[in-house]
Amino acid sequence: MERNPLRRQLQMMRKSFFDQGYLDDQFVQLEELQDEANPNFVEEVVTLYYRDSSRLILSIEQALERKPFDFNKLDAYMHQFKGSSSSIGAKKVKAESTLFREYCKSGNKEGCMRCFQQLKKEYATLRKKLEAYFQLARQAGPMETACRPK
């Protein structure tokens, strides 16, 4: 049982991300990779993700405004975006990416545009949540090591 109240809050926050479907097991994978050599690994990967993917979002936005619509190009961008989103465990964002690709494949311009708006919403929501999470993690301080009975 976590004694530190901030740590408890952090655990609850984390649990809510999974319960509400914002994150999936891939996020746990990142946590498994974090260690003494890279104590901030998860935050680093997430930060990198938001930095890199913001460029992709911009490219997609520009491509959606171009005439004629290039579904192949859009699909290629989204394939890449989906890949990185998937790597950090961004479950809802990934789902919207999949939907977007389906609209591309069926040549549905309206569908693409609607889907993209929803995707951006999910993307922004997750970013806020994770930023708050990492901030709280910093306040809560380093994890105490568990004392196992001998």
């Binding site: 260690d35 890199d52 394939h79 998937s86």
Partner: protein, 179 residues
């Protein structure tokens, strides 16, 4: 004896970490057994004594995936060199001192696709090394078939899990023919 502060860990992370350590030791022991026990056939004999771990070349154009996969491989005891293009991968092979045992290759890269890279690696080195692990987001059967045809040793579905990577590494190292 009753201990006041007994921590019963239901944390799945602890379990995962123990499993990782176990797998890491197993892979290291395979490295020792398959590499150290055989002759050097043309390679520098002191390469093996200097080598800290399994030398892996990671090829992936996505920065996030590269970062995550690299960390994953390092966690399993590998010495990883990461490149972002097929071209960098092939030029890494043309340097004699870079003897990579395993190449982890993302199949969907622009400019020069993963299949092309793998084909060229097999042309450079027609013997059984390096071992090639392909990473793909695709679930199509023909991707698997094509990988086998080109001479890849394993195919992993993205996003890659630590356990899956460990299992495949173990499997291909175990089956690999000696140098």
């Amino acid at each position: 004896m009753i201990q006041e502060n007994v921590w019963i860990s239901t944390n799945s992370l602890d379990f995962a970490q123990s499993m990782t350590l176990l797998l890491r030791f197993q892979i290291q022991s395979y490295i020792q057994r398959t590499m150290y026990s055989h002759g050097t056939s043309g390679e520098q004999s002191n390469y093996y004594s200097r080598s800290r771990g399994l030398r892996v070349l990671l090829v992936d154009d996505d920065e996030i995936n590269r970062m995550v996969t690299k960390k994953m491989l390092e966690k399993l005891g590998c010495e990883v060199t990461a490149v972002s293009t097929g071209f960098e991968c092939l030029s890494a092979f043309s340097h004699a001192e870079n003897s990579f045992r395993v190449v982890v290759l993302d199949l969907h890269m622009p400019e020069i696709y993963g299949f092309e890279v793998a084909t060229r690696i097999r042309k450079f080195r027609s013997c059984n090394w390096p071992l090639i692990i392909a990473l793909t987001a695709s679930t199509e059967d023909n991707v698997q078939k094509r990988c086998v045809q080109i001479g890849m040793n394993a195919v992993l579905q993205k996003p890659v899990l630590l356990q899956a990577m460990a299992a495949e590494l173990q499997r291909i190292l175990h089956r690999a023919k000696p140098l």
